[in-house]
Point group: C2
Chain length 308, copies 2
Amino acid sequence: MSFDKLIERIIELKNPTVVGLDPKLEYVPAYIQRRYMDDDGGTLKASAKAIFAFNQAIIDEIHDIVPAIKPQAAYYEMYGHYGIKALEKTIRYAKLNGMYVITDAKRNDIGATMEAYTNAHIGTVNICGNEIEPFGADALTVNGYLGTDGISPLLKVCKERDRGIFVLVKTSNPSSGELQDLKLADGTPVYAKMGDMCEKWGADTVGKYGYSAVGAVVGATYPEMLTELRKRLPHTMFLVPGYGAQGGGAEGLKGGFDENGLGAIVNSSRAVMCAYKKEGCDERDFAKAARREALRMRDDITQYINLK
Amino acid sequence: MSFDKLIERIIELKNPTVVGLDPKLEYVPAYIQRRYMDDDGGTLKASAKAIFAFNQAIIDEIHDIVPAIKPQAAYYEMYGHYGIKALEKTIRYAKLNGMYVITDAKRNDIGATMEAYTNAHIGTVNICGNEIEPFGADALTVNGYLGTDGISPLLKVCKERDRGIFVLVKTSNPSSGELQDLKLADGTPVYAKMGDMCEKWGADTVGKYGYSAVGAVVGATYPEMLTELRKRLPHTMFLVPGYGAQGGGAEGLKGGFDENGLGAIVNSSRAVMCAYKKEGCDERDFAKAARREALRMRDDITQYINLK
């Protein structure tokens, strides 16, 4: 009912990073695309098969060095229900390989509807007495704009099934400040207020490393806010996007971690998935190139923090 | 590139309402459940087939009196990729029957990821030269917490393909005020600021009825804000949840409409889907009961507005 399971895996592998699996078809090496397009032509079904094969090979190569994956739901949804099946299979395959899975879906709704999202992604659905896990992720990203009514159904399942959530607090994109940085009447920016709500929502789920089951998404592209929020939200684990491709450097991440090198997990998606393109190696070497980039990223980040 | 298509259908049917298709399995009459559970047992697949059959019968009965349906993505996602297939089929079936389809998914992300959601739900995906429409909805609900970066990809497709979006502004739930009602330093509440952003985002997509392609979700449960926002956001079409089951009465909706009875579309989900339970009629009469409730709702709401 906290993020202990994830944190233990981070400590074990000495690696506070997560690989984002956002498999646009153009990232998938041509030889894999051909393998499936030959069977089915240029269809959603063939695309979904190709991206699952791509994910599988990357998971094979990184599961012993990276604690977690973060599949981004949008890149599966774009292939319709075939894509969603590839998402289910990706989650299952990563978990079979001992990885922690954070589904990045930024879901949000209220009451019974939020319960449906919760049960779908991190819970179970009861059908005529059968308890079925539709997706089976360990954690889910969510959007807190709707307030406590949108979060309560998640908290219930986090407690019952030892799951976690990451609430959008300060996102990594250039225009994130349009709403998130606005100052409220008492001088608090909107993002800090959202952060305070995370502390409150997580209050009774704090685990042995001091972090609750309610984390926050805080972008690597705003290092000063990352540092400020680490102090403000001592029990809130951070999921940090925007490292690398979006411009956030490793040294700037330092402020997101506590004195034990914990409290944050940094995501990289495209740089890992497309490492073979950047390296210019044979495309059949893509998974090994992903591993090399994952190791480089680990070393780049851990040089600045105190993870033992 | 505005909401003209939806508005014309509203005028034609003299009905500013939308039926939410949020088919929890418990809403589906037992005889339909049995039909599919007999084949496949209590599985996600059987559930998805049952909810599609349920939706289909309701669409058959309401398509000539109600302009639009609003499937809620969560209730399909909870049945995994089988559920998503039922969502695709529901959208297609409603469109074949001349209905306007608003997918209520409250999606949100940035840049290329938001582009993926956009292409999935209201756009097309290009696979090896084939342009494929994964879901094919006419409009999508979205969450604007991430600012313009999360909205721009949608606007592009709204313009190119005559689609629309509804941005969460003031949601219908009791705790919506925790963030949305907070006053900014200049005295503007967060929800009004989000509303102002909708006006800005939609500025160059205003159609012949005066409404842009960027609508707003404003709950029926806060009638005074509905009235205030109607004045503040003259080009923003409202999608209004919370009528009936959540406690919003018909008279309170009045302020959400303009002097021509346009500018808002009111949703009802459970009251229509479960009308047969409330009526206490034979469960095999559920679709006709849904039609009766849809007509009652239309008359209840139109008595207060000036729709010609």
